[in-house]
Symmetry: C2
Subunit: 210 residues, 2 copies
């Protein structure tokens, strides 16, 4: 089985141009999501807002990009800008930027707002799982440069994760054939709140390529 | 330890009014998130769109609701409208509506768009985890009427989950003291794609209340 991964190389200059254009757009969308979540404006205002949102969507839909992965020419890393965990262009994504250390460790420091709340004051357990699945996958796939799919992931919730400033980190424990074993943590200022262990698997179609 | 869960009862009539007002607002926001994700409109259009988004956010921010949980008077269930997995008012949430059967089983049929994509064509593994953590939690907490926190959750990815029409389901396997053991599946038209097992725990402050 083979898959068609279309991709386009993107230069440093073009990368910076798009980041400068789309990063602020996504930030504004995050503000709007939050405003919509908590608004108690009167019905006319809400309906007026909705009509304006539809009009803006129409403006942006006039030209949509082809669905291909953008790969950063200098680093060889896919940009993953549409990704729902880290995408610079995806307003759903917790605003995570992943840092890759030379030894393969990954970490990210980010802030979760009330849009990610489960029980009052705490991050939704499933959002913790989203963040950890993603960062373990980043460690296992060497920054998404090698195709790896989650095989299994187990999460242990040590205590509630408060909304606000958080840190996620992950590293590879060992590799056995096509399986990569990764471990990671979600932490607040007082230490780990959730621990994760995952097994990531190189898909059959990518094995010959090495 | 005790926690202050402020809540307001909401009548059937008010529930329907708010659902009719905020459901379409959230749908429009989802359309806008998707439009922003894939737009290739020219820079002036993108900047103009961003300014308009900021202006709409300001309109909606003029009056924000107090942070208290809304509880549906007729069923005693919290609305969870801000919830990032199922919230009617949260544009981040996959558009899931949870159905509760008399025997305690929960299920939901929903459609995941490209905003939830990980590898090309497939749902992000962490989004599968978010969906399953939430629906197992619904089963374990009897529709969020009993406070239960995720203790551990293990996910087994049987194959890729395609974007599009999906079904999630969960049920309680057994209860031992403060621990509730739940199991569930994410499925496409050809059967299970991800299997989940979770242990949900009644917090200490809720144990005396029974």
């Amino acid at each position: 089985m083979s898959m068609d991964f279309g991709f386009d190389l993107i230069s440093d200059e073009e990368y910076e141009r798009q980041r400068g254009l789309y990063g602020p757009l996504t930030d504004s969308l995050r503000r709007l999501i939050e405003a919509g979540l908590h608004t108690e404006a009167d019905e006319d205002t809400v309906r007026d807002a909705q009509n304006r949102i539809e009009a803006v969507a129409e403006m942006l839909e006039t030209k949509q990009r082809a669905k291909s992965t953008l790969v950063h020419e200098a680093t060889g890393r896919p940009l993953a800008w549409a990704n729902p965990a880290v995408g610079l262009r995806n307003a759903i994504a917790p605003p995570m930027v992943i840092h890759h250390e030379d030894d393969g460790q990954c970490w990210s420091e980010f802030t979760l707002s009330a849009a990610y709340e489960g029980p009052p004051g705490w991050v939704h357990g499933g959002i913790c799982a989203l963040v950890l699945d993603h960062i373990l996958g980043e460690a296992a796939s060497e920054g998404l440069t090698r195709p790896k799919f989650t095989g299994t992931i187990s999460l242990r919730y040590l205590r509630g994760t408060p909304l606000g400033d958080l840190r996620a980190e992950a590293f590879v424990e060992r590799t056995e054939g096509v399986k990569t074993f990764a471990r990671g943590y979600l932490k607040d200022a007082n230490g780990p709140t959730v621990e994760a262990e995952g097994v990531f698997i190189q898909p059959a179609w990518a094995r010959d390529a090495g």
